[in-house]
């Protein structure tokens, strides 16, 4: 009996440790690669212990970039940050405004607007690639931050989450504010938005990651190195044709692309988990 219960107690640990290994191992190998000389990476099998080129490789990735790229990671980190912040903050602002209108006002087109927002869930970028590209190019937004950010700032999930939250706020608060002479916008700015901190924080984590990890859209609309995001840079560095890819720089850039959103999730894990399981259902 003792043996059986020992096995039963050890089993979950064995399974979970194996899972952690499968999750961490590929990331570890990429980290190790980012600290090696290119020659050592090419001379298979590469060691699975870190090399001594950490400073050299990350320095080069950050300030120069791979030879074929024409952009460095400093620029790309900046672009990814602008895109991620622009998308997440933009989504939060316009969704708060829309949810406020839908919950706190009666107006003729309310249902139509609600359904229009809902339908965007069924139109991800992937299904409207070419025509959306055409719109952006007609508006002169190719290779611009506006082009990277604006089309991504619609979020049915954010509108739903805020709408749900606003509905749970007692109406007496709005009524009292109105009696005290507060305008609708004053109520929104000084009472409602501060009350919404927690859902806003959850939404921020999810949308920051979403924005940081955008790939197809920047791939389509950024052709100038100046606007490359990290993920686009990685893709372009690997597109060397017959020449030798500079793996050490590519892997260092991959680590730079991986770390910021991971930090956001780890630091804000609670908000992240509650945001995910509450909104997406």
């Amino acid at each position: 009996m003792v043996e059986r219960s020992l096995v039963r107690r050890a089993f979950p640990h064995l399974v979970l440790i194996l899972a952690l290994f499968i999750i961490v191992f590929p990331i570890w190998v990429v980290f190790v690669g980012s600290t090696q000389r290119l020659a050592d990476i090419l001379d298979a099998p590469m060691s699975i212990l870190p090399g001594d080129q950490f400073g050299v490789n990350y320095g080069r990735a950050f300030f120069e970039g791979a030879k074929n790229l024409g952009a460095n990671a400093a620029t790309m980190v900046k672009n990814s940050t602008i895109m991620a912040l622009g998308i997440s903050v933009g989504k939060i602002i316009i969704s708060l405004l829309a949810a406020f209108a839908i919950v706190y006002f009666d107006f003729a087109l309310k249902d139509f607007i609600f359904w229009s927002i809902f339908i965007t869930l069924m139109l991800p970028v992937e299904v409207r690639i070419m025509p959306t590209y055409k719109v952006i190019s007609d508006l002169g937004m190719l290779n611009s931050y506006w082009g990277l950010i604006l089309p991504m700032t619609v979020s049915a999930t954010a509108v739903f989450l805020f709408r749900q939250f606003f509905k749970s706020v007692p109406r007496e608060i709005a009524e009292a504010a109105a009696i005290d002479g507060a305008s609708a916008m004053n109520f929104f700015r000084h009472i409602l938005v501060p009350m919404t901190r927690t859902p806003i924080a959850s939404m921020f984590v999810i949308q920051f990651i979403y924005g940081w990890n955008q790939y197809l859209w920047p791939l389509l609309i950024t052709t100038k190195e100046k606007y490359y995001t990290l993920l686009i840079g990685i893709n372009r560095m690997l597109a060397v044709g017959d020449a030798q890819a500079e793996w050490q720089i590519i892997l260092a850039t991959t680590m730079l692309a991986l770390i910021p959103p991971v930090i956001v999730v780890v630091v804000m894990q609670k908000q992240f988990v509650s945001g995910m399981t509450e909104t997406e259902k």
């Binding site: 089993f11 979950p12 640990h13 899972a19 952690l20 499968i22 999750i23 590929p26 990331i27 190998v29 990429v30 690669g33 298979a44 099998p45 590469m46 699975i48 316009i94 969704s95 405004l97 829309a98 406020f100 209108a101 006002f105 009666d106 087109l109 309310k110 229009s116 069924m122 139109l123 991800p124 992937e126 299904v127 409207r128 690639i129 070419m130 025509p131 959306t132 719109v135 604006l150 089309p151 700032t153 609708a184 940081w212 990890n213 790939y215 993920l231 990685i234 893709n235 892997l251 991959t254 991986l258 959103p261 991971v262 956001v264 999730v265 780890v266 992240f272 988990v273 997406e280 259902k281």
Partner: protein, 293 residues
């Protein structure tokens, strides 16, 4: 329900929804409408004017064996990815939900990979399995497996499936764990008292209670595999070798952006929209039913 207090203002609500609606119309409705419209035309040989062809683009599409292959492949790939990602994460969530030492640590370690982008997931596995520098492919060759996913179809499909499922485990894990934590302990204990072993308890009591979560995740995973795995396909295999990983969303990109075949690409977009609509409708009907309880 009594009438809720509402602010009175005729123009303000429209001003408030205006930013959202401008973006929805310009970047969502207009392009979707254009895709529908363009799918009924072809460009003339010089690419100058459009010729109305009715449903010809669609007919050609469904007569094209390459497209049909891609359609079948997309479904196989989606089911494969959804099935592996769901079973693995459910299994892990069940283990992490037990009263074990280090539970918080395990949970955090399984949750954070959510932040890893799909492209990075592709790069990680691509580097391990790279035919020249990969350390796993080196070991595979040592034991006599002729590993080169750039040439062998089956290996390419295996690699993109592996990377895509790996990426989705954290997402599923978060939902399964939340679902498991909502299963009333009393029910599980009652089943244990009635003599149900761990397997009976899981399949007869816990799993049925998890079915809303599982169904939600199934749809989300199918959507993910159909559409959001684009970065992996684009980076790791470019749809090859020999169309082996040319799923619909990659094909629509290649035919439109690379080959500039606008009519066909538009028709493909419309077919993809239909797939999303069907999946969303499934989801929506299910949510409706749940609400009615």
């Amino acid at each position: 329900m009594t009438k809720q207090y509402a602010f009175h203002n005729r123009t303000l609500p429209y001003v408030l929804v205006l930013p959202q609606m401008i973006i929805v119309i310009i970047f969502f409705f207009w392009p979707a409408f254009m895709a529908l419209y363009q799918s009924l035309f072809i460009q003339d040989a010089f690419g100058i004017s459009l010729i109305f062809v009715g449903l010809e683009n669609y007919i050609k599409l469904f007569q094209n064996p390459q497209y049909l292959d891609s359609l079948v492949l997309s479904f196989q790939f989606a089911i494969l990815v959804a099935f592996s990602a769901l079973t693995i994460s459910l299994f892990l969530a069940v283990q992490a939900n037990k009263h074990i030492w280090g539970k918080t640590f395990y949970t955090t370690m399984l949750v954070w990979p959510y932040a890893v982008s799909t492209l990075v997931a592709g790069i990680l596995w691509m580097f391990l399995f790279n035919p020249t520098v990969g350390i796993i492919s080196y070991q595979l060759k040592k034991i006599g497996i002729d590993w080169n996913y750039l040439v062998k179809s089956g290996q390419a499909l295996f690699l993109v499936t592996l990377a895509s499922s790996w990426k989705q485990i954290s997402y599923n894990f978060v939902f399964f764990l939340a679902g498991l934590q909502n299963v009333p302990v009393s029910l599980v204990e009652a089943a244990a008292i009635d003599g149900g072993g761990p397997f009976t308890r899981f399949w007869r009591v816990i799993f049925p209670l998890l079915s809303p979560t599982t169904f939600y995740l199934l749809v989300m995973n199918l959507v993910y595999a159909f559409f959001e795995t684009f970065p992996i396909i684009h980076q790791v295999t470019s749809g090859g070798p020999n169309q082996a990983t040319n799923i619909l969303v990659y094909k629509v990109y290649k035919d439109g952006v690379i080959n500039l075949d606008l009519g066909s690409s538009a028709a493909q977009s419309v077919v993809l929209m239909l797939i999303v609509i069907i999946l969303s409708a499934l989801q929506f009907r299910f949510v409706e039913r749940k609400v009615e309880y």
